[in-house]
Amino acid sequence: MKEGKIVVYDSISLYSRGIRYLIFDMVSSVWKSRELIYRLFLRNFVVRYKQSLINWGWIFLMPFITMLTFLLLNISGILKIGDLKVPYPIYGMLGVSLWNLFSNGLPSTTLSVDSLGGLIGKINFPKSAIIFAASGQVLVDFYIRMLVILPVFLIYMRFPSWLIILFPIYIMPLVLLMLGCGFFFAIVQVIFKDTQHIINLGLSFFLFLMPIMYDMPKKGLLVVLSRYNPIYYLISVPRDLIIFGTTNNFIPYFLSTLISLFIFTIGWFVFYLSETKLAERI
């Protein structure tokens, strides 16, 4: 902004400026604040494991324990993992790592704006930067976990498909879906503090509803539910691509990608429109 540029704040609806202007402004404000996004991300990242005994070990330990839990449930006969074509640790670790992209990303984006409330009420900066910064954490976690999963493949004398090198691309729909929901819930969290608890409850229930940690059952309610669950495809197809290099679910994956793009765009836009209202409610 150069000197002489005039900014006007009034009570007239944002829409009167035209949808095209709004979208342009929405995208350019994030582009302009890329430095801020990086700094906020770095702040979360550097600080997270300070004063912790095993430090980065947590990044590996979390999915490992989840995988172990399901293995135990299987052994004790509570839950049937089913017949898999790959050793369970490979299947389970990949599944839970992908799931964590969503299940860790959603609570952290939801809380991100609310927890910076003091700052938002005092300094004017693009709030969407906070959401993007919060999602950086889970992405980095995932990349690090992929490095651990490779030796697991080797232990079982297997090789991932060559498509593994493209994983940063085909996990994006899942990340965008998480961001879209995160934008939405971050606003709601600012107003209703119950949101975070509802999300945590919902997420732990949701994992059992999808055949992510076990094989798709032959019949029953879960089969029907999973068929219409975009998150299931956004997780299982990337896993198929990493393990086998191919999948039976290309079309549902493609449709789920469209849904996630749609939710991401709407979520971001709703957040952008509400940004100025958030400071007043914190």
Binding site: Y9, E35, G118, K122, S274, R281
Partner: protein, 254 residues
């Protein structure tokens, strides 16, 4: 907008809610109405009041203006509206130039990060590009007198070092208009002196300054003009001395 103006308020009003429970639902409905492009409610709902009520003023480029008033008269709200944090419910605010807020000392500082890391973090929150911070880095360090402690987490800083560093980062914003809200309350006499000198410096290079304070001495030192707010209304404006005189009258009445 007048060519000489830096800030113009035209019939600006802003309402707030007294109770948290209603505020929650009002917030929900306001955001929903905003998204659905519905008309705003211009009247007061239950438990709402006008925090700023039909305020009009113009601040010229390069002017330094003190905003004075009792607690709850709307001073901070006015600053936040100039800063674009709060939008007016009625009326129009026009701003020419970039606005920076010296409101929070150590904005965005994280206690576990080092002084150096925090300079870049806080700078980014204030909208400074990395290159610009690189340029100003030595100046910031010099002002805050923390050369030796740059790589120490700021949680181990003395409170004096902390506020000096916080102020130094904020004072180096690239702005045309500077908003200052009771920033001296946190430090010792030395720090206050340093801040005042720095603000005088910024004033002398032509920045517009809007200053909120209860401290008569500081107000007189920095500002030439003043605005007196009372219960959300602008009741007087003029030279800072006259404004402070009127302010005393209001002080006695209440």
């Amino acid at each position: 907008m007048n060519i000489n103006s830096a800030i113009e308020f035209e019939n600006v009003s802003k309402k707030f809610c007294i109770r948290l429970e209603e505020q929650m639902w009002y917030g929900f409905s306001d955001i929903l109405r905003n998204i659905l492009n519905m008309r705003k409610t211009n009247t007061l709902r239950k438990d709402e009041f006008w925090s700023i009520n039909k305020v009009n003023f113009k601040i010229k480029k390069g002017e330094s203006v003190g905003i004075v008033g009792l607690n709850g008269s709307g001073k901070s709200t006015t600053l936040k509206m100039i800063n674009g944090i709060f939008m007016p419910d009625l009326g129009k605010i026009s701003i020419r130039g970039r606005v920076g807020a010296l409101i929070e000392v150590g904005a965005g500082f994280h206690p576990y990060l080092t002084g150096k890391e925090n300079i870049y973090l806080s700078g980014a929150i204030f909208g400074m590009p990395k290159k610009y911070i690189d340029q100003k880095f030595d100046e910031i360090v010099e002002f805050s007198e923390i050369e030796k402690f740059l790589d120490m987490p700021v949680k181990n800083y003395s409170s004096g070092m902390y506020v000096r560093l916080g102020f130094a980062v904020a004072a180096h914003m690239q702005t045309d208009i500077l908003l200052i809200d009771e920033i001296f309350a946190v430090g010792d006499v030395d720090y206050q002196k340093k801040c005042l000198t720095k603000i005088q410096e910024l004033k002398n290079i032509g920045k517009t300054i809007v200053f909120v304070s209860h401290n008569e001495k500081n107000l007189k030192e920095i500002c030439s003009k003043g605005i007196l707010l009372h219960e959300g209304k602008m009741v007087y404006r003029g030279n800072i001395d006259d404004v402070l005189k009127k302010y005393k009258e209001y002080n006695l009445k209440n």
